[in-house]
């Protein structure tokens, strides 16, 4: 449990996710065109660029929490579709969970994950099972916390979270989307991957890289 993440690692991870989001534009556009309005790839590519710029240009100054909060605001400025806004909310809430810290323990990370999950649910008012990003995010947050709790390494906990996110994503693929644009598509969403779940899996994988 002595394992920690320092601010340089947070900055590097933020930048890495930013790069991944830009390079994922086409695949996410494609998924969102199938059950939405096709903007998810564009939104996240813009947010990806903004995160890279933010990571490069904003010193952490010993407060990772505040830094993440500001990253969330930058993300909202860059792209404010449903998912973009939820991502911004998640960053802001995760940041608020670790005020003034300049290094993060496994417990910090668990708390951030949980705060992000709660924030997304509060802002978006969707329920687990509605076939949204929550169905990947919530199991990932829970798996991460359980692994940390069980004394596993951060890498192991991360791997567990990713596995849970993927499982969560796949578990709702057969279902019908209940909220957001996809909710209007109805039965034609059955059997199709939720774009937000996929985006979350992509981001989480890139975080762990």
């Amino acid at each position: 449990m002595a394992e920690t993440i320092d601010s340089a690692q947070v900055v590097a991870a933020t930048n890495r996710v930013g790069v991944t989001l830009v390079s994922s534009e086409a695949v996410l556009t494609d998924l969102d065109q199938q059950m939405g309005d096709g903007d998810l790839g564009i939104t996240l590519s813009k947010i990806g660029l903004a995160l890279q710029e933010f990571a490069a240009g904003t010193p952490v100054e010993g407060d990772i929490g505040k830094w993440l909060g500001k990253a969330g605001m930058a993300a909202n400025r860059a792209g404010s579709s449903s998912f973009g806004t939820l991502l911004a909310t998640a960053l802001m809430r995760a940041g608020r969970a670790v005020p003034g810290k300049d290094a993060l323990t496994g417990d910090d990370l668990s708390a951030m994950f949980a705060a992000a999950d709660a924030g997304v649910q509060e802002r978006g008012k969707a329920q687990p099972g509605d076939k949204t990003v929550i169905d990947a995010l919530q199991p990932a947050a829970q798996a991460f916390a359980a692994a940390v709790e069980a004394g596993q390494s951060l890498a192991e906990a991360g791997a567990a979270a990713l596995a849970a996110a993927k499982a969560g994503r796949d578990s709702v693929t057969p279902l019908r989307s209940k909220v957001g644009r996809a909710g209007w598509v109805g039965e034609r969403t059955e059997g199709k991957v939720d774009p937000g779940c996929e985006a979350f899996v992509i981001m989480l994988a890139s975080l762990l890289d």
Partner: protein, 333 residues
């Protein structure tokens, strides 16, 4: 579909730049962000201010209705993407004339989340904000789940009626009530014949067969109720009318406002062919037309198709609808 543009990423800011240059007496922007479009003379002191917002690609929706007698400001997102909460806040601050601000916008996740955030932020600055969500599209959910419906062209009637009420000096409560009353009596349904392309996406949002149409499609290309073989204008109109009338249930002797709205590529000639049938169906039921709007009021770039909106009007709504308005896209005298 081919577009006249420069860099796709510049589509919206360049459009806004052109718009501000074309209408300098009518429009301005808040702070240093052209995405925050406001009436040039805002704030109008003592008047309840109306704001809307949403993605680009729907002109005249949303920003085209900013002007005297309608809206005071509009936060403008990228194509089909919500503007940010910060932009909505900047608009809110600039248009607030001391009598509160009403947000009227379509029921879309991104917009709702961001407007909610903006309203929270505005409350810290003692700006009273009220929200009216537009959910007029009968094709997007059954009547039992009307709260899930999306907002489409019917929002224009809400802008018009609430804007008139505010222009007449109505209080915050009265303006909200006018918007809600208009929307309670408004239903829309659309049909799409061809897709549209988000400039940055570069390929159509959906595909549709040479001989197909999508009944009930949304204005961002959200799939509708049914993919079918293309029908005649009269058949299509009957389909839309039936869905709307079954939901709105007007009685003989009622008066309606009618809007036949082109989604983009469909020419006005075809809209009038639709209107002809609408008028016939209403006449057959003994329902009168108070006012007819035929043209492009809420589009999806170059999508082919049309939507039909009916609003039941009593004397109050009729008077609000008839009140003058003057925006770059909507003039009524």
């Amino acid at each position: 579909m081919k577009k006249i543009l420069n860099q796709p990423a510049d589509f919206v800011p360049e459009m806004l730049d052109g718009l501000l240059k074309a209408h300098p007496e009518q429009l301005d922007y808040a702070g240093d962000d052209v995405h925050c479009i406001v009436r040039a003379d805002s704030p109008v002191s003592g008047k309840v201010a109306l704001a809307t917002g949403g993605g680009s690609g729907h002109l005249p929706v949303f920003l085209g209705y900013v002007g005297k007698g309608m809206l005071d400001g509009c936060a403008v997102g990228d194509v089909f993407a919500s503007p940010s909460a910060e932009q909505m806040l900047a608009v809110t601050q600039r248009i607030h004339g001391g009598a509160g601000v009403v947000y009227i916008y379509g029921n879309y996740g991104g917009d709702v989340m961001n407007f909610d955030m903006a309203a929270e932020m505005a409350s810290f600055e003692d700006i009273e904000v009220r929200t009216v969500l537009v959910k007029d599209d009968v094709a997007s959910a059954p009547a039992e789940e009307a709260g899930r419906r999306r907002g489409v062209a019917g929002m224009v009637f809400a802008f018009k009626c609430a804007g008139a009420k505010a222009d007449m000096g109505g209080s915050l409560d009265e303006v909200v009530a006018a918007a809600e009353k208009a929307l309670d009596n408004t239903r829309t349904m659309g049909v799409a014949l061809s897709p549209c392309t988000v400039p940055r996406a570069g390929k159509p949002t959906f595909t549709i067969g040479e001989n197909e149409m999508e009944i009930g499609m949304g204005i961002h290309g959200e799939p509708g109720m049914k993919r079918e073989t293309l029908q005649t204008a009269d058949e299509i109109t009957e389909r839309m009318m039936t869905a709307i009338l079954d939901d709105l249930k007007p009685a003989a002797g009622d008066k309606l406002a009618v809007m036949v709205n082109g989604l983009g590529a469909t020419p006005p000639e075809e809209l009038y062919i639709i209107y002809r049938k609408v008028h016939q169906i209403l006449a057959d039921r003994g329902i009168g037309v108070h006012r007819a709007y035929v043209g492009e009021y809420a589009t999806s770039m170059e999508m082919a198709g049309a939507s039909l909106t009916l609003m039941r009007v009593d004397d109050e709504l009729a008077a609000l609808l008839d009140h003058p308005a003057h925006t770059p896209f909507f003039i009524q005298v």
